[in-house]
């Protein structure tokens, strides 16, 4: 392992290569790309959640500089093929009927509008300002229908149907785990705890609003996209399907992108329509969303409602977990909604050896924007509710919540461990990791201090949240979507290296970390390695960056390519030395004869020979370039514990963080600085879920949280992102349990904070006010809710 700061390999905390261009103001996002004579698209979007409508665009069409206004009918009438509905990729939960094509997301609400913000038409003009002015001149008349805004409303008797084809609004319903065994566990329990405080719907809110450029070249038939997406290659595939366009004539480039967090791991109707307009007009068409547009239609996350229950025996052994969930899918069912629910169910028992578990999920449509992937995805509600239940049942049994956790952890000798929900955990030592956290907060001393201060009328609390996630997604066959890691490595005749990876870098530092992996594996200088991602033009294939997959799968693919390079290098060197391959070693950038180092060849000399191809073994082809589609045996399962320590003012309900400790294990860390950045950044998003963020719809289905604001929740309107003053400093401790099946032992670490922080913070606040015997609170918890809970009111 190279840890020399001047020659960074795996484990080095080297600063990121990506930073300089940003700091100099030279990074380029999609909206920053210079284009010659682009046209500008703006979308006519529904102002109602559920309505039939008519569009009068005569005034807009007559405006100077307006090139076209397309309604659904105009698009249908064009010779350019009408964009097809989004194709679902992911497989359903076992045994479930999956929604049929009627529910795949349409690019336009043709027969009616299904949610506030749905696209009803497109305006294309010579400048963005003319397009916006023209948009204001489009007259849309609505005949409103009763909307369904919440999952409960969707399931109510006589509820309006979001789609005429689905009169009961239920898209799928089914369970995972063993229902009968779980019922038995609850029969035998000495203690049971129940929660129905719902993990609320929140918005990923990357800071850069979405945008897309479609460039159609009539002479070559080439359709190029520049877009804000986490999945350039899959985006290409989907555009080909949606636009009925040959895939080999589409390319996709992702410039610097201001965040994704899962919300950009699939394209949107706007992307397809930008491409459609480019083809239809034989032009370059650009669209850049406003913040409000972004909040209206970019997918939200969570949206779980239901009941979660935990059963424990008198000794503190957890016997069973049960959940009955209604999952709000929004108006259209896009890419793999049911498999997102499945992923959460897989790990619903968290880090605990719980013999029986059963989760039933009912997916319903509502007249709201789509719910889909957001950092942590369905692990967030499942872990949040599990961790709240463990603390609650411990309190009911008058047991220490840390002791109950330690008593129930999966033990190191149980791996690979098959969890009751179906996950196969790869490796871990949960208790050792947990104990690091207890030490960091000095747990025993804290409990004494807590008791002492309570006598003085001060209320401190500690909250635990133990987490895992489905990372490094994943083996082909795990889900019905390509999920390998693509990489190729080109060795130049000079010995310099270009690494091509199928991920999409947008803040994770792949240009740095994947160069560390290659430099380490090839034993070449870090500065001799360049990493290329984010482009179908430069990288042949890829699956994209999401689900904490690039460290394990991108890094794994790069490692495998580099290992193949070294193998070929040994053959070239053996030929040169006149010995067999087994008699050649490779270390410190030099091939040499075993034992005596009598003959040697530098990496660069070998590369030059391989490239020239004259003096190499007959069975070898010239050149030095290796490629892999790395298909791992399993997903990876990083884990850890977050511990929040707070003090609540019972007079006001305000509270302060006294401490926040995250103990983490993501296997081998390629760049610990980047890992810590992911942890702290994720915690801020989890803290947002616990304390500040909520997507608010009015009773009529109008999105109220359609702009940012900086106040706490409480009044209506606006979406509150945590600010610097809201987030505590975090103490991080790490253990390292290498993944047994990734080539370099990395597991991935992108989502711990958003998964673990909500439970840790909620448990800490409820522990602080435990003397008041409060009812559990519903996130996001405000000082007002805490104040109410202290006074025995529902909050």
């Amino acid at each position: 392992m190279a840890t020399d700061p001047d020659d960074p390999g795996i484990g080095s905390e080297t600063p990121r290569r990506e930073d300089t261009r940003v700091l100099l103001g030279e990074s380029k996002g999609t909206d920053d790309i210079e284009l010659s004579d682009p046209l500008h698209a703006q979308f006519i979007r529904s102002e109602n959640a559920h309505a039939r409508y008519t569009i009068d665009a005569a005034d807009a069409r007559a405006m100077d500089g307006v090139v076209a206004v397309y309604t659904a009918d105009d698009i249908e009438a064009s010779e350019t093929p009408t964009p097809r509905p989004f194709t679902l990729f992911a497989a359903p939960m076992t045994g479930l009927d999956y929604p049929d094509e009627a529910l795949w997301q349409r690019c336009l609400g043709a027969e009616k509008a299904h949610y506030h913000g749905e696209i009803l038409g497109v305006v294309v003009a010579e400048t963005q300002r003319i397009a916006r002015d023209a948009l204001a001149a489009v007259d849309v008349s609505y005949d409103t229908l009763d909307p369904v805004v919440t999952p409960q409303a969707a399931l109510a008797d006589g509820a309006p149907a979001v789609h005429d084809d689905v009169p009961d609004n239920v898209v799928f319903a089914g369970g995972q785990g063993d229902e009968a065994a779980t019922a038995d566990a609850f029969e035998q329990a000495a203690y049971t705890a129940e929660l129905h405080k719902d993990p609320q719907r929140i918005s990923p809110s990357p800071l850069e609003p979405r945008s897309a450029i479609g460039r159609y070249d009539a002479s070559s038939g080439q359709l190029d996209f520049v877009a804000t997406t986490q999945i350039p290659h899959a985006y290409r595939r989907l555009m080909a399907q949606m636009l009925s366009y040959p895939e080999h004539r589409i390319d996709v480039t992702v410039p610097d992108m201001g965040g994704g967090f899962g919300a950009r791991q699939h394209p949107y109707p706007a992307d397809a329509l930008v491409g459609w307009c480019a083809v239809d007009l034989e032009a370059t068409v650009k669209w850049r969303s406003t913040r409000t547009e972004n909040q209206l239609v970019e997918n939200d996350g969570r949206g779980y409602e239901g009941t979660w229950e935990l059963a424990m025996d008198e000794t503190g052994d957890i016997l069973g977990l049960r959940a009955d969930i209604t999952y709000d899918l929004g108006a259209w069912v896009a890419r793999g909604a049911a498999s997102l629910a499945e992923a959460g169910n897989l790990l619903m028992t968290g880090l605990y050896d719980i013999p029986a578990a059963y989760s039933h999920v009912t997916g319903v449509v509502t007249n709201t924007a789509r719910i889909d992937a957001y950092r942590g995805v369905s692990s967030v509600p499942m872990i949040m509710m599990l961790e709240r239940l463990v603390s609650k049942v411990a309190k009911q049994a008058d047991m220490d919540p840390a002791e109950v956790r330690k008593r129930n952890f999966v033990e190191p000798d149980q791996f690979p461990y098959e969890a009751a929900g179906g996950a196969l955990y790869d490796s871990g030592d949960y208790e050792r990791n947990f104990d690091l956290g207890l030490d960091a907060v000095d747990y025993e001393a804290f409990r004494q201090k807590q008791a002492r201060l309570r006598e003085e009328g001060r209320y401190l609390g500690v909250g635990f949240s133990c987490w895992t996630e489905v990372a490094g997604l994943g083996p082909c066959g795990h889900i019905d979507v390509a999920s390998w890691g693509y990489g190729s490595v080109q060795i130049h005749p000079t010995g310099e290296v270009t690494v091509y990876c199928g991920g999409a870098n947008h803040g994770q530092g792949h240009e740095t970390s994947l160069a560390q992996v290659a430099a380490d594996t090839l034993d070449v200088p870090y500065d001799d390695v360049r990493v290329v991602e984010n482009s179908t033009k430069e990288v042949n294939e890829g699956v994209g960056t999401y689900a904490s997959r690039t460290a394990a799968l991108g890094g794994g693919a790069v490692t495998k390519c580099c290992e193949k390079v070294v193998q070929k290098g040994k053959a070239v060197a053996a030929h040169e030395f006149g010995v067999s391959v087994e008699d050649v070693t490779y270390r410190d950038g030099t091939f040499a004869t075993v034992g005596d180092d009598a003959q040697s060849l530098s990496f660069g000399e070998m590369a030059s020979k391989a490239h020239l191809g004259i003096d190499i073994p007959e069975e070898l082809e010239p050149g030095l370039e290796e490629q892999t589609y790395y298909d791992p045996e399993n997903c990876t399962w990083p884990f850890g514990t977050h511990i929040a320590v707070v003090e609540v003012d019972p007079e006001t309900g305000e509270f302060d963080f006294q401490d926040y400790v995250a103990t983490e294990d993501c296997g081998v860390q390629i760049n610990p600085t980047i890992v810590e950045g992911q942890i702290v950044g994720g915690i801020a998003q989890g803290l947002g879920q616990a304390l500040y963020e909520t997507v608010e719809y009015g009773d009529d289905g109008t999105l109220l949280s359609d702009t940012f604001r900086t106040e706490r929740v409480g009044s209506s309107g606006g979406y509150t992102l945590p600010k610097a003053e809201h987030v505590p400093d975090v103490t991080i401790r790490s253990t390292e349990t290498p993944s047994p099946h990734t080539p370099h032992g990395a597991k991935g670490m992108g989502e711990s904070g958003s998964i673990a922080a909500p439970g840790a913070i909620l448990n800490a606040v409820e522990d602080a006010i435990e003397p008041f015997d409060p009812e559990p609170m519903t996130p996001p918890i405000t000082p007002e809710k805490i104040w109410r809970a202290i006074r025995g009111e529902d909050a």
Binding site: V680, G681, L721, K723, E725
Partner: protein, 160 residues
């Protein structure tokens, strides 16, 4: 809406620019579209995220909600003014060394806001950095701690 244009003179990072703009045109639009300053990022169009922060006559302002016509004669500085011929300044250096950026969309605006703040407050506490220096800026990636560290480090380096 008026199509009447107004002539406005700006100095941007030391270079004079004469532009003819609609009265409704925003400073952020003029700087991005007419002057080519694409380091100015538009995250919210409502003065909340701070990604568009520039200096106007030495004062940090959010260019997304200033009209260009208000700035006639102003000296504007963007993040491109902080480096010296491609060599990062103290604050920029601290940002990379402390890993204070991930996607980087908020970074230029934060640098400009903090650059002005440190002029008036050369020795802020960590709490002041959180509540004052970063009061007008949002970051969705970092969780802020490394940004606080970087500002702390830069303030100390600048004091020496």
């Amino acid at each position: 809406m008026s199509s009447e244009h107004v002539d406005v003179d700006l100095t941007v990072n030391g270079e004079p620019h004469s532009v003819s703009v609609e009265p409704r045109e925003l400073l952020s639009q003029t700087l991005r579209e007419r002057v080519g300053c694409t380091s100015i990022n538009i995250g919210c169009e409502s003065t909340l995220c701070g990604a568009c922060t520039v200096h106007a006559d030495g004062k940090a302002v959010k260019s997304c909600t200033r009209l260009t016509v208000q700035e006639d004669g102003a000296a504007i500085q963007t993040v491109q003014s902080l480096a010296d011929d491609g060599v990062l300044g103290e604050l920029q250096t601290a940002f990379t060394e402390e890993h204070a950026l991930q996607c980087g969309y908020c970074t230029p605006g934060i640098l400009m806001a903090v650059d002005e703040y440190l002029d008036d407050n050369p020795d802020p506490s960590r709490s002041e950095i959180r509540t004052e220096a970063l009061q007008g800026n949002l970051c969705r990636c970092t969780g802020y701690e490394n940004i606080v560290d970087a500002i702390d480090v830069a303030a100390n380096a600048l004091e020496e």
